[in-house]
Amino acid sequence: MISAEPYVALSLVLLCLGLVGVMVRRNFITVLMSLELMFNAVNLNLIAFSFRLGDLAGQILAIFVITIAAAEAAIGLGLIIALVRLKDTVSLDEADLMRS
């Protein structure tokens, strides 16, 4: 089947899951992991449409997304290290220096 609907639906579900996870999880690392989940959902969507439309551009874009995700992951983990060094915690509750 060439239709993309199921894949898109799945992508949506995963996206929402990731979104909820970003909002809900206390541990910073897990938040980043939910973020990765969202990236995957996006990739899935791209690939689905790429197949559906017969255009390889979707795949190329997905490669780029993965690359960026990797970069982001690296930086995110750097942030974790920084946060740990600063607050000696990974809990986002205590990352409230910007609180007015």
Binding site: L19, V22, M23, L92, D96, L97, R99, S100
Partner: protein, 696 residues
């Protein structure tokens, strides 16, 4: 070009003199010699040219008609609709004329004027150079105005002269303006004159309205033609013109300025307030006789006012102690005689009396000036006496003039006054215009006035020149005769006072001789003489009877004066009389309190009214200003409060809103990223929701 073609030069010569003295001598402070030379040249040129013009005109032209010379076109007023629906152009030219009446006026005005200029040289020599120049400038200017007045060929030009003499009168009366009472006298003269001038102006307007022209010749024709103009028009115009004459010639009720005018230098009193300006009213009535001929009411008014004034002011003159005041009231009285004559239609008699009066009154005033000069400025007759020893020339000229004014034949005063009284009697006899009784009464008044005149004039002579000097030792040493510049005019005028009457208007009818009166022959064609021809209305015997009666009255007056003032140096008799009738004496001495009456009824209310208006204005205006100030303070206070409470309150409110809002919004800034994420999610959801809502 003949002299009379350039008749307008006669007023212009003194004008040039006035301009020079006023603008050059006065400013530069040139010497007195320069000043009086210029002035005498101005007046002298007017005299010589005037006489030359008259003589030449008499010899070449038809003296029955006026010779009119237009100099330039003055007023071009477009077209105006007048009475009867006619539309006429309003055009007034500056044109001058020469006819019998103007010739007579020019003749004596220029001559007497010149004499007085000469006299002034001596009289005013003690003034400063500047004041001297100012005096002569004004005097020349007066000559210009007066000559314009008598040679004008239409009412506006006459009015220019009329106003001009009024102005010069004011300037000269107030010559010593540093003294407040002199300045006040000048103002009084001008203001009272103005009232008369108002009447005159109204008369001019009416004349144009009814007749469409202002030229004398034109008006004469128009009056004769009538053009359906109501008879009342003549009355209105006549009465209004006479109002002007009342002011200018000091008749009741506008005479009050003349006694006060004695504040000016004596030559001024002589020229202006005796010989010339005050006679302008008489001239004007004579000139406009065609109005009066057609209006019995106007004529009667003139006669009554003239007659009453003659006696009224004579009574005041009986008890005055200031020598000039006596002469002033005498002038008013004599002017009354002139108007009495005009009022009975005897215009020639009126003008004749103008001429003779000029001679003897000028002589009297100049003589009094000489006396005052000698007494070192003293004018109270009670401080004079016995001056005939010290000032013989002044004495005989003065006496000559006094005899003339008293009406003793054959001097000038008698001839003209007798003519007037005869005409008045004749008017009563012929029941002129149906007012015969009134005219008889007026004749009676005239006769009484003659007696009074004789009395007070001789009283003056006796008090001043006879007896012993009462002014103190110190002053007595200074008594001296005046210089030739002053005595020469006196002598000339005295001679004229003696012979002038007979020369000009010999009463031939008393001797069954017709046509001997020069003035009569000269002026008859010009002046519509109503009743002039009626010499025969009065019989020969009656004429002589009238002469005898008037002379008797005069002699009676002289004798009483002699008894009172000459025979008894202590003046016991008049003093006793005054004590017996104190009220009457006070009444006369205080001039019937007329000035006080005017002051109370007119002047004070006017001044009070003005002050009231000023108060109102000040109160209202000041009130408004203060009110504005107060309201400004109040409003600015309110403004301040407003600013403080409202504006500041608003600003504070805004700040507080921000405070509250920021405190509320600060809660959002939890520094909690996941919170932000959630907000973003919800935001996106809401956006999509709205999007769908709109799309659907």
């Amino acid at each position: 070009m003949s002299f009379y073609d350039l008749i307008w030069l006669v007023p212009v010569f003194p004008l040039i003199g006035a301009a020079f003295n006023g603008l050059v001598s006065n400013r530069l402070g040139l010497s007195k010699t320069v000043t009086h030379t210029v002035a005498l040249l101005g007046a002298g040129a007017a005299w010589l040219w005037g006489w030359a013009a008259v003589v030449q005109w008499m010899l070449t032209e038809d003296t029955h008609r006026p010779y009119v010379v237009e100099v330039f076109s003055w007023i071009q007023g477009g077209e105006l609709a007048i009475f009867g629906g006619r539309v006429v152009p309003l055009e007034v030219a500056a044109s001058f004329q020469l006819d019998a009446l103007s010739a007579v006026m020019v003749g004596f005005v220029t001559f007497v004027g010149f004499l007085i200029h000469l006299y002034s040289v001596g009289y005013m020599h003690s003034e400063s150079d500047r004041a001297y120049a100012r005096y002569f400038s004004y005097l020349n200017l007066f000559m210009f105005a007066m000559l314009t007045l008598v040679t004008g060929s239409n009412l506006p030009v006459l009015f220019v002269g009329w106003e001009g003499v009024g102005l010069c009168s004011y300037l000269l009366i107030g010559f010593y303006f540093e003294k407040e009472w002199c300045a006040a006298a000048g103002m009084k003269a001008f203001i009272v004159n103005r009232i008369g001038d108002f009447g005159f102006l109204l008369a001019i307007f009416f004349a144009f309205f009814y007749f469409g022209t202002l030229e004398f010749a034109g008006l004469h024709e128009a009056m004769a033609a009538h053009h359906g103009v109501p008879a009342a028009a003549a009355t209105i115009i006549g009465v209004l013109l006479f109002v002007g004459a009342m002011g200018k010639s000091a008749q009741i009720p506008l005479y009050v300025w003349l006694p006060d005018a004695m504040a000016g230098p004596t030559p001024v009193s002589a020229l202006i307030h005796a010989a010339t300006m005050v006679t302008a009213g008489v001239y004007m009535v004579a000139r406009c006789n065609f109005f009066y001929q057609l209006s019995p009411t106007a004529m009667l008014t003139v006669a009554v006012v003239g007659g009453v004034t003659a006696v009224f002011s004579a009574t005041i003159g009986l008890v005055q102690n200031d020598i000039k005041k006596v002469l002033a009231y005498s002038t008013v009285s004599q002017l009354g005689y002139m108007f009495l004559a005009a009022g009975v239609g005897a215009y020639i008699a009126a003008i004749f009396h103008v001429v003779t009066h000029a001679f003897f009154k000028a002589c009297l005033f100049l003589g009094s000036g000489s006396v005052i000069h000698a007494c070192g400025g003293e004018q109270d007759m009670r401080k004079m006496g016995g001056l005939r020893k010290h000032m013989p020339t002044t004495f005989w000229t003065f006496v000559a003039a006094t005899v003339a004014i008293a009406g003793i034949p054959p001097l000038a005063g008698f001839v003209s006054k007798d003519m007037i009284l005869a005409k008045a009697f004749e008017a009563g006899l012929t029941d002129l215009n149906g007012h015969g009784t009134v005219y008889f009464l007026l004749w009676g008044l005239g006769l009484a006035g003659a007696a009074l005149t004789a009395f007070y004039m001789f009283r003056l002579v006796y008090m001043t020149f006879f007896g012993s000097f009462r002014g103190g030792e110190h002053a007595e040493h200074h008594l001296h005769e005046s210089p030739w510049t002053m005595t020469l005019p006196l002598q000339v005028l005295a001679v004229l006072s003696i012979v002038g009457g007979l020369a000009i208007g010999f009463p031939g009818q008393l001797f069954h001789l017709e046509g001997w009166s020069l003035i009569d022959r000269f002026m008859t064609p010009v002046v519509l003489s109503h009743g002039e021809h009626g010499h025969h209305a009065v019989s020969f015997a009656l004429e002589w009877g009238l002469v005898v009666v008037s002379v008797a009255a005069a002699v009676a007056g002289i004798l009483v004066a002699r008894r009172f003032y000459l025979l008894d140096p202590s003046f016991a008799k008049p003093r006793a009389l005054a004590e017996r009738f104190p009220f009457a004496y006070k009444l006369l001495l205080n001039k019937y309190w007329v000035d006080e009456l005017y002051d109370a009824t007119i002047i004070t209310p006017t001044v009070k009214g003005s002050r009231l208006l000023w108060e109102v204005d000040a109160r209202v205006v000041d009130g408004a200003v203060n009110g504005t100030a107060h309201s400004t303070v109040g409003s600015s206070f309110l403004s301040g409060v407003f600013d403080l409470k409202v504006v500041d309150g608003a600003v504070n409110l805004v700040a507080r809103i921000y405070d509250v809002a920021s405190r509320a919004f600060r809660r959002l800034q939890v520094g909690y990223a996941q919170g932000y994420a959630m907000v973003m999610v919800f935001g996106a959801a809401v956006l999509l929701g709205v999007f769908y809502l709109i799309k659907l």
